[in-house]
């Protein structure tokens, strides 16, 4: 079994295209005919989805059940260098790092030390990417005493020890404060649980009672995956199975090569800013990227990126690699299946010890997706000007993660993790249309927890979860709207808030579109002496004066957004934001960027936006040159466009 080619242009010659090789050549290269390869690949995709569904159905942990914070993959054997050929439809940051995580974990443990029925684990960000909460579970698949494949899952565990319950905080200084680091170890050995490994985890983490049933479920899903892989090998033969894994990676590589070829040869630079780390706000952090593109190859150089942060807002190099793969996939060919082959013609060159290639023990890694998300933004920033209409506008940039815990009046402890901040928000617009409004960062691909679940599990009432008006970056296609979330807390609480990108827009424009505006976070303490139900908060700028700002660039007096003359408020000026019963937390995300000239937007689309309250009447005139007459609240059906006034506005010399 050989792959057709495995390295970027070592010879510089044109590779034979997969569709152009003869049937005989195909069978020679991949151990089966084209039809069989397609059938096996689809059956393997079914396998990872089947594993995912099983886990989702059985999981006890809310972050699995409500967020889909896990992913499944199938990798090839050590002698093929562990190609990651099949991925589930789920969390992209997990998929991007799992290929390397499996290789690094198995190589360190020693494939010769593995047996049928083993489950190997590792959660070290430097060995496998992401953060310590994300544990990799790896099960070897044997045929006739030889490892032929691995079925894998990475799943977020609600707690991995360290100084902060749940772990989501930018304030931890190093790997020791961060949480338990598990090197490659067996969790099951020949289908028997390894008690010492379980004890290591339960003795060093909180909420083990939630972790244990999830571990058991993961074990069952891996056994299911193994069984389905073996059924395929039994039915189609080992050569056809292994050849299909190679074929899957070669397909990604070929399509990514074609996509890269669309970029004009040259050198492109871009950057993205992170506001501050968790120590103080004296340093902001820049991700700097230079893409050098020649023919079918790209070298992505992260030189110029800030040194690693003093607290755990860093990511590891495998996350940076994932981000580069995601950014190029989204910009160039979103249909490319995300396998190891995605990176065949991409080299990532990075100095060690940066914000996005941090080193232990001081370069702690927790909020990894924030740093690697800035890599995505920087690649967009670099390539958008070169791509013209193929450019893609930026997203809301930060999950603005919220974590809180406390004890209710009757003494019941509660915790709320990644539900009540600005975790969900908009995407930017593309040549295909407006940006989506309420989704997750480009490379996450999670679910949104249900309001009923959130209110059931914690003493909180979700007052608002809505699209904020005039927050999509104007363009021929509009950016998605920022999300405005108000939560009322029925108990005293300790809150951790981590918004990282409020200083400059993350929702960069594309093809002449405008960036989306930035958001912020405020806490509204209960009014003095008010024992009745707190009133809903308005959304006009005058409501903020009584607030305690947590983050954002705000007017020093009114505390309303003021991106031009405002003052930056630092999210970790208090490590823990303590709130009284009756406090309201407001999180406003950044807006998505617009695509194309806003004055070229079809006036009918602007009218529809006014009716749906994506755009105000004033915003329609100011941002789009469209004069809308009427009131969207009292008479939505009566709204109309003043054609003459619109023409006059749009034809004004700018």
């Amino acid at each position: 079994m050989t792959t057709l080619e495995t390295t970027p242009s070592t010879t510089g010659s044109e590779q034979t295209r997969l569709r152009d090789i003869s049937d005989a050549e195909f069978t020679g290269a991949y151990g089966c005919d084209r039809f069989t390869a397609a059938v096996i690949l689809n059956r393997l995709r079914y396998a990872v989805e089947h594993m995912s569904t099983g886990f989702m159905r059985e999981a006890f942990s809310p972050i699995i059940r409500d967020w889909y914070d896990f992913a499944c993959t199938i990798s090839g054997p050590p002698r093929h260098n562990y190609p990651m050929a099949v991925v589930s439809n789920s969390l992209v940051v997990f998929l991007g790092t799992l290929g390397d995580a499996v290789r690094n974990t198995v190589e360190e443990f020693g494939p010769e030390n593995l047996s049928p029925g083993d489950v190997l684990i590792c959660n070290d960000p430097y060995r496998g990417g992401t953060h310590v909460n994300d544990v990799c579970f790896i099960r070897p698949v044997f045929v006739d005493g030889e490892i032929v494949s691995f079925v894998n899952m990475r799943a977020h565990q609600l707690d991995m020890g360290g100084t902060v319950p749940g772990g989501f905080s930018a304030t931890k200084s190093n790997v020791y404060e961060n949480g338990l680091v598990i090197p490659p170890m067996l969790l099951w050995s020949r289908d028997e649980p390894v008690r010492s490994t379980f004890s290591l985890i339960f003795d060093n983490t909180r909420w083990g009672g939630m972790l244990l049933p999830d571990f058991k479920s993961i074990y069952q899903q891996l056994a299911l995956g193994e069984r389905l892989v073996l059924e395929n090998i039994e039915r189609y033969g080992l050569d056809a199975y292994l050849g299909t894994l190679t074929y899957a990676c070669d397909t990604s590589a070929e399509r990514m090569r074609d996509a890269i070829a669309l970029v004009p040869d040259g050198e492109y630079t871009g950057s993205a800013l992170i506001d501050a780390d968790g120590l103080d706000d004296s340093i902001d952090y820049t991700v700097q990227v230079t893409l050098r593109k020649q023919g079918q190859d790209i070298e992505v150089d992260l030189s110029g990126t800030s040194a690693q942060a003093r607290t755990c807002i860093n990511c590891g190099v495998l996350d940076a690699k994932t981000a580069v793969g995601v950014a190029l996939t989204m910009l160039l060919d979103p249909e490319v299946p995300f396998t190891s082959g995605t990176w065949r013609n991409i080299d990532l060159a990075t100095p060690p010890g940066t914000l996005v290639s941090s080193l232990p023990p001081d370069g702690g890694i927790m909020m990894f997706w924030e740093a690697s998300g800035a890599v995505v933004s920087a690649v967009f920033d670099a390539l958008n000007p070169a791509l013209g209409e193929k450019g893609v506008a930026g997203d809301y940039g930060s999950t603005n993660t919220h974590n809180a815990s406390g004890v209710t009046a009757d003494g019941t402890p509660w915790t709320s993790a990644t539900q009540c901040g600005g975790e969900h928000g908009p995407w930017g617009a593309t040549k295909e249309g407006d940006g989506d409004s309420y989704t997750v960062l480009f490379f996450l691909n999670n679910l949104d927890p249900a309001t009923e679940t959130i209110e059931h599990d914690s003493p909180v009432v979700m007052l608002r979860k809505e699209h904020a008006i005039d927050t999509g970056g104007p363009g021929t296609f509009r950016g998605g709207a920022a999300n405005l979330k108000d939560t009322l807390w029925l108990s005293e609480g300790n809150h951790y808030l981590s918004p990282f990108r409020t200083k400059v827009p993350s929702g960069v424009g594309a093809n002449g579109g405008e960036p989306g505006p930035n958001g912020a976070i405020w806490i509204f303490p209960p009014r003095d002496g008010a024992d009745d139900r707190p009133a809903m908060l308005g959304t006009t700028p005058d409501v903020y004066a009584t607030s305690t700002p947590v983050a954002g660039v705000l007017d020093p007096v009114t505390k309303a957004l003021d991106p031009v003359d405002g003052e930056y408020h630092y999210f970790a000026s208090r490590q823990v934001w303590q709130t009284k019963t009756g406090s309201i937390l407001r999180c406003l995300t950044n807006g998505g960027g617009g695509w194309g000239d806003p004055f070229a937007r079809d006036p009918e689309r602007v009218l529809a936006d006014v009716r749906n309250e994506y755009v105000s009447v004033a915003g329609a005139a100011r941002d789009y040159g469209v004069v809308v007459i009427g009131d969207p609240r009292s008479d939505p059906e009566g709204l109309r466009i003043d054609v003459q006034a619109t023409a006059a506005l749009r034809n004004q010399p700018s």
């Binding site: 070592t10 690094n104 150089d301």
Partner: protein, 72 residues
Amino acid sequence: MTEEHDTPPTPVLERIPVHGDCPRCGAEELRRYPVVSEGGWFEVVKCQQCLLSLDRSPWSRLGPIQLLTDLL
């Protein structure tokens, strides 16, 4: 800004010059440095003009990170 700190220096990737010229484009600008790509870390000798890799050898498994346990 609440207080002033010295911003730490920006780390630099060392690209070691290699004698010779590129067999594809003729440029006399070959450099040796680590990259991460499909298959993990490699030390490459690469033309800085046309990106041709003259050599790609597997590098340290975790890149610049060394494990103390590797000394066992």
